[in-house]
């Protein structure tokens, strides 16, 4: 027998599977779990949007629906004018607690202005009004910006629709480091290689990726300027070079080197100069990650006999153990808001994404899969993107920090792994 939640999940999976047929994205997203109380919102078709290459309204609707926090209310055939007060009584009978109306207006030099207003239908007040200038080709980016605005006004949380993600696709012995919009659209390949690529990490300004490439038959850390398509070496010492992590100010990278023996942590300037050893231990120290304020570096170490999470002051000092439960806790990633940390824990069910409250050290397992790895926080600290496996194939998945909302992102006939959620740039 299906529980109501199962029914809900089935419904969304089915609805999204239909949607995926018409989507042009290489990376397709389906919702496998939604929030308990979804906010009913109506997104009216933007007036005159047929002047644009494709519908902005659909981008906004898709974003809000995939977030798992909203249910979209059909407004019927009656058009809504951007410059008139909508019929609140009618909208309430449709069950919409809010409505967004908008209009696309031609501007100079082939540009357009897009105006959007958001209303609360219960209190009958305007919540927000935005005006954005755009080139026609920017209809997706503008849609994400509008969705972010609506998301923020209604939930009080920063939207992350206008962000990008990086991940590695393996197919036919080739590895491609790809960058896509948060909804999987506009996938582009930044690096293609016959050797593995792992551990991509976004610079805080979103212009560069640091990663480990095996293109010279050993792990070497590179920084890649995305717009320029320039790859430069950050660390290529004798032995292995891996696990790059950016300092929050973007000036330095923490890396793991074996030039002095075991895997140990160092910091280095982005151009590869000014290398400094961060700590010395007689164990494996790896997977460094800076806290949001740059004060701490969280990392994995087997100094206690099993891999566990520790932290050390970024300036150096004594390491403090952070994880205690279980015999395998790895890949610590502190949240951008500084309150929590996500990591991978091994339980009887396998390797799963967990979250820890850094103040109380209470933790919870968020997933029910068994081969999870490489968790990465969204800039608003609400969603966690990670790699897992379904049917023997690597897929990306996302889970909300309360474990309720679940999404799956997959590329047809290819293995996807090593996701990294990029920063918010507006």
């Amino acid at each position: 027998m299906m529980k109501p939640t199962d029914l809900l999940r089935f419904f969304f999976a089915a609805a999204l599977a239909l949607g995926a047929l018409t989507a042009h994205a290489q990376l397709s997203i389906e919702i496998t779990g939604a929030g308990a109380n979804r906010f009913p919102v109506a997104i009216a078709v933007m007036q005159s949007e047929t002047q644009l290459p494709r519908s902005v309204t659909e981008v906004v609707r898709g974003d809000l629906e995939r977030s798992g926090l909203f249910s979209l209310v059909e407004t019927g055939p009656t058009p809504f004018a951007e410059d008139a007060i909508p019929d609140f009584a009618y909208l309430r009978t449709r069950g919409a607690d809010a409505i967004a109306v908008g209009r696309v207006i031609p501007a100079q030099n082939g540009q357009f202005e897009i105006r959007v207003r958001l209303y609360d239908t219960r209190q009958e007040i305007q919540l927000d009004a935005v005006s954005l200038n755009m080139a026609p080709a920017q209809y997706r980016a503008i849609g994400h910006r509008i969705a972010d605005q609506i998301f923020e006004k209604i939930t009080g949380l920063k939207g992350v629709f206008a962000t990008r993600i990086a991940y590695v696709v393996k197919s036919g012995g080739q590895y491609r480091l790809q960058i896509a919009d948060s909804d999987g659209a506009n996938a582009q390949t930044a690096l293609a290689s016959n050797e593995p690529i792992i551990s991509p990490a976004w610079s805080p300004d979103g212009s560069k990726l640091a990663y480990v490439s095996f293109q010279l038959k050993k792990p070497i850390v590179y920084v890649h300027d995305l717009a320029a398509g320039l790859q430069s070496v950050v660390a290529n010492f004798k032995g292995s070079n891996s696990a790059p992590a950016w300092s929050p100010d973007g000036s330095r990278l923490a890396v793991v080197l074996t030039k002095d023996g075991l895997s140990q942590m160092y910091t280095v300037n982005v151009d590869g100069s000014g290398i400094k050893r961060l700590a010395s231990s007689s164990s494996i120290d790896t997977e460094p990650a800076y806290s949001h304020d740059g004060q701490w570096i969280y990392f994995t170490s087997d100094r206690g006999g099993s891999p566990q999470i520790y932290r050390i002051a970024a300036a150096g000092g004594r390491a403090e153990r952070v994880s205690f439960e279980g015999s395998y806790n790895v890949t610590p990633r502190p949240s951008p808001d500084g309150l929590t940390m996500t990591y991978i824990t091994r339980s009887a069910n396998g390797f799963q994404v967990a979250i820890m409250d850094l103040a109380t050290r209470q933790y919870a397992v968020l997933t029910d899969s068994s081969r999870d790895e490489s968790p990465s926080f969204a800039p608003n600290s609400r969603m966690i993107l990670y790699a897992t496996e379904i049917g023997g194939r690597g897929v990306l998945a996302a889970v909300s920090s309360d474990g309720r909302i679940k999404q799956r992102l997959s590329v047809k006939a290819a293995d996807v792994r090593e996701p990294a959620w990029g920063p918010s740039l507006h």
Binding site: L191, A192, T300, P307, E373, S374
Partner: protein, 176 residues
Amino acid sequence: MRITFIASALALGLLAGCSSTPMSGDQGAAVEDRSAGTVGTIPTVTPDAMSGTSLAALRDPNSILSKRSVLFDYDSFVIRGQYMPLIEAHARFLIANPQIKMLIQGNADERGSREYNLALGQKRADAIKKALRLLGATEDQVESVSLGEEKPSCTERSETCYAENRRGDMLYSGEF
């Protein structure tokens, strides 16, 4: 061999100068394709003086030197007794050919974190390097690196396969 060396040196020059040309794209990430071309090998000094017989021995299936892999137990970095004759033979070869270099690639099975597995593979490569050094190979001759779980020789999901992937491989100049 000399040609290989020059090509490799060129590859290094390309990389060090990060001279990859900016690709198209006024929006988003440009594509850089490294799947073809000369980039892809570690530049190594290729020995000119190495005797033909030594070279042949490395590829002769009847010679112990043609065997290159050392397998490790789960969560272990100790070289099993059965591999000592193999390690000793390679150490003798390195001593007899001081100009030749070796790259040891450590590997791990696929379970768990990629970066942690990279560190585990490094410990396996280091164990082999340490044994070769104790037997007389020089620090300059041997580099130990890790491929982690990224290059499994066996891709099935079984204990047999996992055991095969907990491995260190010894490669000589020109072989990687």
